[in-house]
Amino acid sequence: MPRLLSALNEWLERRARMREERQFHLERASADLRALGLTAREAKRMARIRFGSRRNSQTGLRELGGDLRGLANLFRAHRVAASLWFQPIVLLAAGALIFAVSPSPREIAEGLLGRTFGAEVREAVALSVYGAGPASPGITLTELASLQSMATVTRVESFGPHQVLAQPVKGITLAAITSEAVARTGNRGFYAAWILRQPGIDTTAAKVVWLLAALYGAFFLYSRLHRRVTLPWLLYAGSMAFLHSAVSIVAWALATQLWSRAPWSGKSWQTPTTAGLSFSLLAVICLLVAAVQCRYWWLDLRRRCPVCLDRLLLSQTQGDASRIVLGAAITESVCAQGHGILIESRWSRDFRRGHSLFSGPTCV
């Protein structure tokens, strides 16, 4: 965080310098022109013309390092990407951005945190028969035809042998629907009940991703890293796994929102086959995104010092890749804080604490 802030601060100072110098120049120039007899407005205009086009300011910013390329160079110079806070900030920013572009950010929040606000919405009506079961005959075709001619509901559709779904007319009550159904079919066993839509996003698949990411991280942390795993490592790895998974879930929620609003989605969801295919496609995309995140997170963890979690530097490879047995290539990386050296080969990975470039077996 301090590195990011200092890089941003320096960048903003450069831009402020350009702005101040330009302002000073224009003010002095217009003051001199006013002294020659021009009006204030004419003097300002003449000073701006003599200063030249905006291209001069853009070129000046580029030379000063106050443009976007300069900002990238500053990030590199201050080693912002090596900072422990870089990845969490990027993940949180990505999550905030997804919330911002989501058509219904409230639904994402409800899907993540549970339903803490919002009322139930009466979406449809289900017409069933009392005592319906596997042994009962179910709703006959004649009864279905009678229900489809009802005035209190529209879009009557069969939903299994013992139930139909329908859209109620606005302002109608359950009692009115029930009495009309009984009157039209002659079956006093009919009753109506509301189908309620719970506001929120179905995060079932994303939670599976969440669990997989956590298991992936825990397993590889235990099996691959140095056996003496320190608490900061565990906390950092746990927090990264949580953040990556949360971003995956939020991205999933956004994807389902956008899918449901697509022009073709109404037709696509009508049949179980297309609905299943669409769901599978979204799940695969979400899994791929989560896999990429996990891989990046894992590679990042492997490049950090186990003591201070700062990124290891100055990687140098010794040995020969063709001499696998007698002189296998090893790579040494150093912790900038002096906590030790990481020595990696094709088969092993060892962090030697307390060693530096100027001591121990690697010293020349």
Partner: protein
């Protein structure tokens, strides 16, 4: 790129790379801020050189990056905060080298023009 001056004669655009030499030469007299450098250039050349005053600043920043000049904040003649530029040791050396190069260029041009 030439512009019509008040006396009807066309002023001359700067050759690329000569602005550095001119700015270094102007700074020999002492630290100046950007506007003062632009005014001094205009006075010394009798407004012959047509250069956008704003193009001075990219030149100043570039030379500062190369270490030929340094900058520091100070107070201008009207007590406003301004950034003053001054020559460094390597800037002085660079100026001498550029001046020597310009003298040779002048001599070569003169020879061609006389003999052609």
């Amino acid at each position: 790129m030439s512009k019509e001056r008040q006396d009807g004669e066309a002023s001359i655009g700067l050759l690329q790379g000569t602005l550095d030499l001119l700015v270094l030469r102007v700074l020999v007299a002492g630290p100046l801020h950007g506007y003062a450098i632009a005014r001094r250039l205009g006075e010394l050349s009798d407004e012959w050189f047509s250069v956008d005053e704003g193009s001075l600043y990219p030149c100043l920043y570039r030379m500062e990056k190369k270490g030929w000049i340094r900058s520091e904040t100070g107070r201008s003649e009207n007590n406003r905060r301004a950034r003053f530029y001054s020559l460094t040791k390597s800037g002085t050396e660079r100026l001498e080298a550029e001046q020597e190069g310009w003298r040779r260029f002048q001599a070569a041009m003169g020879r061609v023009l006389r003999r052609a």
